[in-house]
C-alpha cells in the first residue's frame, strides 16, 4: 500500500493545484526537492497499523483521528508560542512531550523528532538529553525549532489531507 501511496502522491503534485502549494512549501523549507518523500515523512509501520483499524475503505476512523490530531497540533503550537513569549521552558517541554506522543502514534516522524528536541531543550538538556544547557541558549534553540516543527507539521498535514482526499468516496 505504501508504494501505491507514493505513486499517487507523485502524480498528484504534478496535477492538482494543491501541488503548487506543497511544492512551494517544501522548497521554502528545504530548498531541495520538489516532491515530498513520503517515506521520510511518515513511519508506515505505525500509519499502517492505524489504517488497519479502519472498519472499511472509508477510513472513517483513522481520518477522524488524524483530524483530531490536526486540531490538537494547532492548539499546541499556539500554546507553544505563548510559552516561548513568556520564556516558560518547562511548559514548552511539557507541550513538546505531549505533541510528541500523538505524532508518534500517527507515525509522523519529523514532527515527532522535533517535538522530542523541544522537550529535551525545554528541560534544559541538549537535543539528545544528555548535557545541560543554559536558559538563554535553550530559549534560543527553541525559537529556531518552533517554526521548523510547524513547517514539518504543515508538510505532514498536506500529505495526509491529500491521502485521504484520494482515498475518500
Amino acid at each position: 500500500m505504501s508504494t501505491k501511496e507514493e505513486d499517487k502522491l507523485k502524480t498528484v503534485p504534478e496535477d492538482s493545484v494543491k501541488d503548487k502549494e506543497s511544492t512551494e512549501k517544501t522548497t521554502k523549507d528545504n530548498g531541495e526537492t520538489k516532491i515530498v518523500d513520503p517515506e521520510e515523512l511518515i513511519d508506515y509501520n505505525t500509519f499502517d497499523q492505524l489504517l488497519d483499524m479502519d472498519d472499511d475503505e472509508d477510513h472513517e476512523f483513522s481520518y477522524s483521528i488524524v483530524l483530531n490530531y490536526f486540531e490538537q497540533a494547532e492548539q499546541t503550537f499556539t500554546d507553544m508560542d505563548d510559552a516561548l513569549e513568556k520564556k516558560d521552558l518547562s511548559e514548552l517541554s511539557r507541550l513538546g512531550h505531549f505533541l510528541k506522543g500523538s505524532s508518534a502514534a500517527i507515525g509522523l516522524k519529523k514532527v515527532k523528532e522535533t517535538c522530542e528536541k523541544i522537550q529535551n531543550i525545554g528541560n534544559k538538556q541538549d537535543e539528545v538529553g544528555s548535557a545541560s544547557l543554559e536558559e538563554e541558549v535553550a530559549l534560543e534553540k527553541i525559537t529556531k525549532l518552533l517554526p521548523q516543527v510547524k513547517a514539518e507539521y504543515k508538510e505532514a498535514e498536506e500529505y495526509l489531507k491529500s491521502f485521504y482526499d484520494q482515498d475518500a468516496r
Partner: protein
C-alpha cells in the same frame, strides 16, 4: 474452656485474646454472646432486607452475594448502614473477614450481574444460614479458637435456652456437658445438611451442562443438514442453468459457464451473472459457517457473536444492489466459476455486495446466549475483509478467544492516544474504560473492577506513579502497566517501586499489546477443553481464587475452606466426632477441587506460570525499599521482559 456464661460480652472477650476485644472495640457491642461480628451481621441483614435487589443481593445459589452496581452501592447503601460511602473500604472490611472476591465467575453469572459486578464468597456466609455466620471471623490468630468459642457458646445457648440463660455457674456447668453432646449432634446434622446441599447443587450443575451439551450437538447437526441442503440446491441450480443454456445458445462453448463470448443474449447473461454471484455468495457463506462451526469446537462463543454482528452490520453498511445490469467488468469474474464451490480466494468485493441480499435468508437464527454488548465491537468487518484478503479473515479469527473479555482501564491525558488505544484494545477483544488523569483512575478503580490497568505516566492533576501508589494501598492484584516513552533503567525502577506490574513503551504496538494481554489476562482465555462439557470454568475460578488468596495474604498454597475446627482447646475436650466430620467435609471439598484440578493440569500449570511471573512484581508494600531490593526487582523484570520478547 467451655464457658457457658454466654450473655456476658466481657467474659467472652477475656477468654479470647486480642481478636475479640478488637472486634468489640472497633465494631461496637457484641450482642448477646452470639459472637457474630457486627459487620457480618449488618451485611446479612442488608441482604435479607434486600431493599435494592438490583444493586446488591444474593446470588442465584445463595452461597455468594453480588454487588451489581458498586457505584450505586457506595452511594446509596453504604452510607445508610456504615459510616462511610467508600466501596474500597467495604471491600477491605470484607477481606478482613476472610471474604473472597469471586473472580472470573463463569460466563452466565457475569452476564447476569453485569460487568462491574463484584461477587463475594465466604463459606460461612450463605443465604438463610444465620447459624453459620459465627464461623466468620477476622483473619487473625486464634481465629479458629474464636470460631470454636462462638460456636460452642451459641450452641450452648440454643440448647439451654430456657434454663441456662440466667443461671449461675455451678448448675450450668453440670448441664453443660449434656448440652455439648446435643450441640455436637446438632452440628453434625447441620454439616450433613450442608454436604447434601452441595451434592445436590453439583448434580444440578452437571445435568445443566449435559443439557447445554445436547443443545450444542443439535446445533451442529442442524448446521450440517443445512450445509447439505445448500449443496444439493446448488447442484440443482447448476443443472437448471445447463438446461437453459444448451437449447438457447448454439455458438457458445460447451461449458455452460463460459460467458466471454457475445453470443448469449443479454437476458441470459444477466441470469448467469446473478446466478454466479448467488452461488458464490452461498459457497462463501457456507464456508464461513463451517469455519465458524469448527472454531466453535475449539474457541469460545465470540465467533457466534461475530456472525450475528456481521449479519447485522453488513446489511446496514452496504446497500442492497439491484439485480439489474452490472458493470461490464463483472464478466471478468465469471471465469471464477461455480464448479469449484470451495474456493474462497478469488472472491471480489462486488460479489459480496450482492451477497448481502442473500445473507439474511440463509442466516440461521443462532441462539446468541452469552454475548455482552461490548462484544459486538469485535471486528464487524469480517465478511468484507474476506473480500479484501482472506488472510486478513484468518488473522482476525485467530484472536485468542476470551471466555470473558478482559476489562481494561486506560488512563491517559491525550485524547488521540486514548482513541487509538481504545480501538486497538477493542480489536483485541477487550472492553475498555477510560480515565483522563490519575484522579479519575483512582475513582474508577475504587468503584469498579478491572482485569488490567494501562496507566500513562505524565498526566495533569495526578501523575501515573502517584496514582499507582495510591491504588496499591488497597489493591495488590490488578496488574497496572505503565505506558511511557521513557524506558530508561531509572524510570523503570521508579515504576516498579511505585507498584507497577510491567512497562509498555509508547507508541503502542499491536503485537506487544496483544502479548501483554495474553500474559496478564491468561486466566480469561477460553478454556479449550469442553467448555460445554466440563466444570472447567468453575475450576478456573477456583484456581484464580487460589492465586488471589496467595496474592493477598501470602497464605499456604492449598485453598482450604476456612471452616477449620482444629484448635488444641477444642481437641482437649475430646469431642473428636465433630472434628472428624468437619475434616471429612473439608476433605470432600478438597477432593472435589483436586479432581477438577487434575482434569486440567495444563491450564493450571500455565496459570501458575503466569502467577509466578507476576509474583515478582508484587511490591513489598510493608517493607522499606532498600537499595538491594530495587536492583533485584529490576533485574527480574528485565529477565522476564527478555524472555517474553523471545517468544
Amino acid at each position: 474452656m467451655l464457658d457457658p456464661t454466654l450473655p456476658d460480652p466481657s467474659a467472652s472477650s477475656t477468654t479470647i485474646p486480642t481478636t475479640t476485644t478488637k472486634t468489640v472495640t472497633k465494631k461496637g457491642n457484641q450482642q448477646g454472646g452470639t459472637g457474630i461480628p457486627d459487620f457480618v451481621k449488618k451485611l446479612f441483614c442488608m441482604l435479607e432486607e434486600c431493599i435494592y435487589p438490583h444493586i446488591f443481593s444474593w446470588s442465584a445459589k445463595g452461597d455468594t452475594f453480588v454487588v451489581k452496581d458498586p457505584s450505586e452501592f457506595a452511594k446509596v447503601i453504604l452510607p445508610s448502614h456504615f459510616k462511610h460511602s467508600n466501596f474500597s473500604s467495604f471491600v477491605r472490611q470484607l477481606n478482613k473477614y476472610d471474604f473472597h472476591k469471586v473472580r472470573n465467575p463463569d460466563d452466565r453469572r457475569r452476564r447476569v450481574y453485569g460487568d462491574q459486578a463484584w461477587e463475594f464468597q465466604h463459606p460461612n456466609f450463605k443465604y438463610n444460614r444465620k447459624d453459620l455466620l459465627e464461623g466468620i471471623k477476622r483473619k487473625a490468630t486464634g481465629k479458629a479458637a474464636a470460631a470454636a468459642r462462638a460456636a460452642n457458646n451459641n450452641d450452648t445457648s440454643i440448647d439451654g435456652s430456657d434454663t441456662h440463660r440466667h443461671s449461675n455457674l455451678s448448675s450450668s456447668s453440670l448441664s453443660s456437658s449434656n448440652c455439648t453432646k446435643n450441640e455436637l449432634k446438632e452440628m453434625t446434622i447441620k454439616l450433613q445438611e450442608q454436604i447434601q446441599k452441595i451434592q445436590e447443587s453439583q448434580t444440578k450443575m452437571s445435568s445443566h451442562m449435559q443439557l447445554c451439551d445436547t443443545k450444542y450437538n443439535a446445533i451442529v447437526e442442524a448446521v450440517d443438514r443445512f450445509r447439505n441442503n445448500m449443496a444439493a440446491q446448488e447442484t440443482l441450480m447448476r443443472d437448471i442453468m445447463q438446461h437453459l443454456m444448451t437449447p438457447i445458445t448454439t455458438t457458445a462453448s460447451s461449458t455452460s459457464n463460459d460467458n466471454n463470448s457475445e453470443s448469449p443474449p443479454p437476458e441470459m447473461q444477466k441470469l448467469l451473472q446473478t446466478y454466479n454471484e448467488v452461488s458464490r455468495a452461498n459457497t462463501d457463506q457456507m464456508n464461513r459457517i463451517s469455519k465458524l462451526v469448527e472454531h466453535m469446537q475449539n474457541d469460545s462463543v465470540i465467533t457466534m457473536s461475530s456472525i450475528t454482528t456481521s449479519a447485522t452490520t453488513t446489511t446496514a453498511a452496504t446497500t442492497i444492489p439491484s439485480m439489474g445490469p452490472l458493470a461490464p467488468f463483472n464478466f471478468a469474474i465469471h471465469n471464477n466459476t461455480n464448479n469449484t464451490p470451495t474456493t474462497n480466494n478469488n472472491i471480489t468485493t462486488t460479489s459480496l455486495n450482492n451477497s448481502h441480499q442473500q445473507q439474511h435468508s440463509y442466516m440461521p437464527p443462532y441462539p446468541v446466549t452469552t454475548t455482552t454488548p461490548q462484544q459486538t465491537s469485535i471486528p464487524p468487518s469480517m465478511p468484507l475483509k474476506v473480500a479484501m484478503s482472506s488472510p486478513s479473515l484468518r488473522r482476525k479469527s485467530n484472536i485468542p478467544g476470551w471466555s470473558i473479555p478482559p476489562r481494561v482501564l486506560l488512563v491517559d491525558d491525550d485524547l488521540i492516544f486514548r482513541r487509538l488505544s481504545t480501538k486497538l484494545l477493542q480489536v483485541a477483544g477487550c472492553t475498555i474504560d477510560v480515565a483522563a488523569d490519575g484522579l479519575e483512575a483512582i475513582t474508577k478503580l475504587g468503584s469498579g473492577s478491572y482485569d488490567i490497568v494501562l496507566m500513562d505516566i505524565m498526566m495533569p492533576k495526578l501523575d501515573g506513579i502517584s496514582a499507582t501508589r495510591n491504588i496499591r494501598q488497597y489493591d495488590t492484584w490488578t496488574p497496572i502497566i505503565s505506558m511511557t516513552s521513557n524506558t530508561t533503567d531509572r524510570d523503570v525502577q521508579e515504576y516498579i517501586l511505585s507498584g507497577m506490574t510491567d512497562v509498555l513503551p509508547k507508541p503502542l504496538d499491536q503485537r506487544t499489546l496483544r502479548k501483554l494481554l495474553e500474559r496478564y489476562c491468561a486466566h480469561l482465555k477460553a478454556v479449550r477443553q469442553g467448555y460445554y462439557g466440563n466444570n472447567n470454568v468453575i475450576e478456573g475460578a477456583q484456581i484464580t481464587d487460589i492465586i488471589e488468596n496467595n496474592e493477598k495474604g501470602k497464605q499456604p498454597m492449598i485453598a482450604t475452606p476456612p471452616v477449620i475446627i482444629s484448635t488444641s482447646s477444642f481437641l482437649d475436650s475430646m469431642q473428636t466426632d465433630t472434628i472428624q466430620l468437619d475434616q471429612h467435609q473439608q476433605q470432600n471439598q478438597q477432593q472435589q477441587q483436586q479432581q477438577q484440578q487434575q482434569h486440567d493440569q495444563d491450564n493450571s500449570n500455565h496459570r501458575w506460570q503466569v502467577f509466578v511471573n507476576n509474583s515478582h512484581f508484587i511490591p513489598p508494600t510493608s517493607q522499606p525499599t532498600g537499595q538491594i531490593e530495587d536492583d533485584e526487582v529490576t533485574r527480574v523484570w528485565k529477565k522476564a521482559k527478555l524472555s517474553s520478547n523471545d517468544d
